[in-house]
Structures are given as C-alpha cells and as structure tokens.
Amino acid sequence: MSALLQLDKTTIRFGGLTAVSELDLQIGQNELVGLIGPNGAGKTTVFNLITGVYQPTEGEIFFGGKSLVGRKAHQICKLGVARTFQNIRLFSSLSVFDNVRTVFHLHLRGDIRHALWRGRGFWGEEKQIESQVLELLEIFHLRQFRDDGAKNLSYGDQRRLEIVRALATKPKLLLLDEPAAGMNASEKTELVRLIQFIKDKFQISVLLVEHDMQVMMGICERITVLDYGVKIAEGTPAAIRANPKVIEAYLGN
C-alpha cells in the first residue's frame, strides 16, 4: 500500500527543545488514524508540521509522493490537506455561508478580473458555488444558519462549521485537532458518527488528534502514541490499550 501521507524521521527543534523527534507516520488512502499522547506531547506540532505552519528541522514529509517541506500553508492546502484547529478559528465577522464560500476560491476558474468585470461567467460561477456551499451546509445541518454570523453559533455548531469549511477545500486528507474538546457525552457520540460519515461519504483519510479515549478507541483503525515528541507505540486500539508503555505515559509508574 502506498501511503497518502508519510512522515519520514521528521524532527523539529525550538531552540534546545525537541518538540517532535524522528517521527515516522504513515496514513493510507481512506484510512482513519489517531494520534494521542499526554498534554505537550507534540500532537498539534505534528499538525503544524504537516500543514506548513512550521518547517521540520530534519526529516521529510511526503503527501501523495510530493515533498511538503518548504511549501507554504496555502500551497499544502491546494495539494489536498485540510485541517481544523484546536481552538476554533473561524472567520468571525463573516456569515456561516461566507465562511464556506471563501474557501471555494480554490476551485474558481476566473481570477480577480472576473470579480471586477462581473460578466456572465462570473455570475454563473458564483451561482454554482452557492449551490455547492448550500449542499455542504445541508449535509451537516447548518443550512438554517446560513446568514448568521459564524461567531453566533453554538460551540458544537462552530466545530462542525470548521469541519465543513475544511471539507470545502475538497481535501484528500483531513486533520482534526481535538474536535471533541468541550463537548458533552451525547455530542461526542454524534461527533464519532459524523467523522465516520465524512470518511465514507467523501472517501478521504482522516488524522485525528484527541484526548478522549472513548472517541479514539471507537473509530480509529490505527493509533499512534506520542510522548515528549517521541513515538512510543503504534497499533490497533486494542493493542494500544494493553501497551504498558502507553499506560505508563498516561498514568505514571
């Protein structure tokens, strides 16, 4: 199986601190992989490395056979990697509709001249985008909020909108950073179903960072465990649960 995403001995140091050390990680097509670890283990740093927010000090990152090292965040997004953020980062002054619509500029055929001239091509394209955005919002039950400000949504809806926005980039790989944070038990169950649904419906791979073990054990096909930036275990949820090193990292010895 050729991996969609492959991290090859990826390392990043901030001054003297090695945040992620020689991490190997592979994600296949349409696979759902989990990344767990205690606080400060470097999970979000891994996301930032993949999405171009940070550049690795050493090592390589390949996506669909292309190296991501040296590429900027927006270029990596164009290649097919989309993400959500641990602390929600929506475009707060825009409406729900516009939050998703903005992302569709990736799929525009016309450029700035199109927008300025406003010919027939422009309106045709805007109409097409509108129906696609509404379709996405419909799937995730956000359509009734289309004209509301994104920041007026409930917390759970904001998280969902962030996922919709990421999906609008038409990604091959979706990175979800603690999507269950701040959710109650029933919302978590709903979220698990949603992630499963996204993976099946859009046929994409998902890399999931989460603290909530119940969520992780429920949906991940494979789990990688980080501790102080080092991979200490990798395997099926059942194997991870039984791994003494993981138990030690979480509970101490």
Partner: protein, 326 residues
C-alpha cells in the same frame, strides 16, 4: 446582498456626473472646490478602506501614495501649454492614470514589508514610508522642493472627480463582494486559518495595497488639478491620519459608512467656518456673535471625533449588515 446591477449602476452614475458637470459654471467656485474635495476624499477613504477596513492592514501612508499621484500628474500636464478641451480631455485622464500606476508601484513596495509585519508595527512602517515620500519631494528641485509646484492647468471638474469616485466605489465593492474577494476579509479575521484554507494571504495583502495606492494616486492627480499648487507639506502625516479617521468613523469595512463619513468630515470644518461668519443669531439676539466658533472650529471638530468614537466605536453608520457584519 445582491450586486447584480452594479455595472448598470456605475454607468448610470457616470452619466449623471456628465449631466451635472454641464451646469458646472452655474455653481459658485467656493462650493465647487468643496465638492471637489468631497469627491477626492471619497476616493481616498474608500480605497484606504480596502487596506485598513477589509484586509485589516493598518496603513498610515495613504497621503504618501496620494503625493506620488499628485506630483506625477502635475509634472506630466505641466509639459503642455494651452490646449483645447478635447485634447485636455485625453491628456488629463492619461496623466491621472500614470499617477495612479506610479502610486501603485509605491504600494507594491510598501506591500512587501507587510509580508512580515502586522498591527502597530506595520502602521509604523507605512508611516515611515509616507514620510520618506514627502521628504523626497521636498528635496527634489525638479518639482520645486519645499517651495512647492504650481500647476498650469486646472482640469479637475465635477465629471472626472465624481465618475472616478464612482469607479473606485464600484471596483472596491465588486472586489469584496465576490468569492475571490471574501479572501480579503478572511485574511483580516484570521490569517493562519485563511492560509490553512488555501488563501494566499501575502498575495491578498499586496493586492489590497496596490489597488488602494492606485486610487490614492488618482485622487492625488485630481487634488493637484483642483488646487493648482502642491507643497510636500500638504501630504504629511496629518493628511494620512485624516483619511484614517474617515475610515474609522464610517466603520471599518463598511463602504457606505465610509463614503458618508468622507462627505461629513469634508463639510464639517467648512460649515463651522460659515457658522462663524454669521454676525448674530437672527431673531434671537444681536449681542451674540458667533465668530468665536471660527477660532475653535478645529477643537469642535476634534471633540466631535472623541464623542463619536466613545459612543459609536463600530462606526457611526454601522446600522445594517455590511461585509464586516457582526
């Protein structure tokens, strides 16, 4: 909001400007000059709103871009002697365009540091840049240096001033109200999220600076041909600030509000001046001259700004949803 008829609206506005300008010689020249100032300030404020309001880059150098356009248009048109109105009608827009393009180049140069800086730091860099431009003109003997430069022709008229204002409003609005243009607001709201969603934040910021500077340059050309005399001092830091005030007062990212603020803030000092020339309040008293208002009119102006900012920090005209809707 639907901007389907924006182009029709623009053509209508230009036609209207043409009709009104036919009666230009019927308007007294003091009023006429205030009207020019209003049109020029609308262009300046609306274009700055693209940079400061929609894209969220705090620029304090708009007067610098204006100076580039003003001096360029002045130098070009000073090459020509007496011309009939048809020829000047070709040369004048050409000179304005050249001024705008040169200012756009300056905007590109300022846009580059924005790749790294944001907020207060960017404000300081743009402030410095505006001052550099001013000092360059001050030391350029070719354009009269600190003594100033007179412009042979006064080709600014109502038609050019207000049709160009209409063009500015159309272009900035059309830009922002499109899927492409929503990227400007996305960059303002959250640059990291915008980049992660495939938006090239750098390109958007530089585009905003270039487009904004272009129109500031055009406004500069109109200013030059309205005043017929330029001094570098006229393009100082205070001029930049007064444009920023129009944008903030109108509401960042609210084009309608910014246009109204530009009109009001141009009229306000003039109206206060007029008020002071009234000898007494008719029908009330003869012993109550209002001339003191003239002496403190700038204080009244400043106080009004303070009060407005305290009571309506979102902009006085932020009633309905705009692109920056809450």
């Amino acid at each position: 909001m639907n901007f389907k008829y924006a182009k029709t609206f623009l053509l209508g506005a230009i036609a209207l400007c043409f009709l009104v300008s036919l009666f230009e010689n019927k308007i007294n020249s003091y009023r006429l000059f205030i009207l020019y100032d209003i049109g020029i300030n609308i262009i300046l404020a609306v274009s700055l709103n693209l940079i400061n309001g929609y894209t969220g880059q705090f620029s304090l150098g708009h007067a610098g871009f204006m100076a580039v356009g003003a001096y360029a248009a002045a130098v070009i048109t000073n090459q020509f002697g007496e011309l009939n109105s048809f020829v000047s009608g070709v040369i004048f827009p050409g000179a304005l365009l050249a001024g705008g393009l040169l200012a756009a180049v300056a905007g590109l140069l300022v846009g580059i540091p924005t790749l790294r800086l944001r907020g207060d730091y960017l404000a300081i860099v743009t402030l410095g840049f505006g001052e550099i431009i001013r000092v360059i003109f001050q030391n350029m003997e070719r354009v009269g240096g600190a003594r100033g430069l007179s412009i042979t022709h006064g080709w600014t008229n109502l038609f050019w001033t207000f049709s160009l204002a209409a063009v500015t409003i159309y272009l900035v609005t059309a830009l922002v109200h499109s899927t492409y243009g929503r990227g400007f607001i996305a960059v303002r709201d959250d640059e990291i999220a915008a980049s992660a969603m495939g938006i090239n934040a750098t390109k958007y910021k530089v585009t905003a600076f270039v487009v904004g500077a272009f129109f500031a340059g055009i406004a500069g050309g109109l200013y030059a041909h309205s005043k017929q005399f330029l001094t570098p001092g006229g393009f100082g830091f205070m001029e930049s600030i007064s444009i920023v005030v129009m944008v903030i007062l109108g509401g960042m990212g609210n084009t309608t509000g910014v246009i109204i603020a530009a009109i009001l803030l141009t009229l306000l000092p003039e109206e206060l001046r007029r008020l002071s020339s009234i000898e007494h309040l008719p029908g009330i008293t003869k012993e109550f001259p209002l001339s003191w208002i003239g002496n403190i009119r700038m204080i009244i102006y400043s106080l009004l700004l303070v009060v407005l900012m305290l009571t309506r920090p979102q902009g006085i005209f932020a009633f309905r949803k705009s692109a920056s809707a809450k």
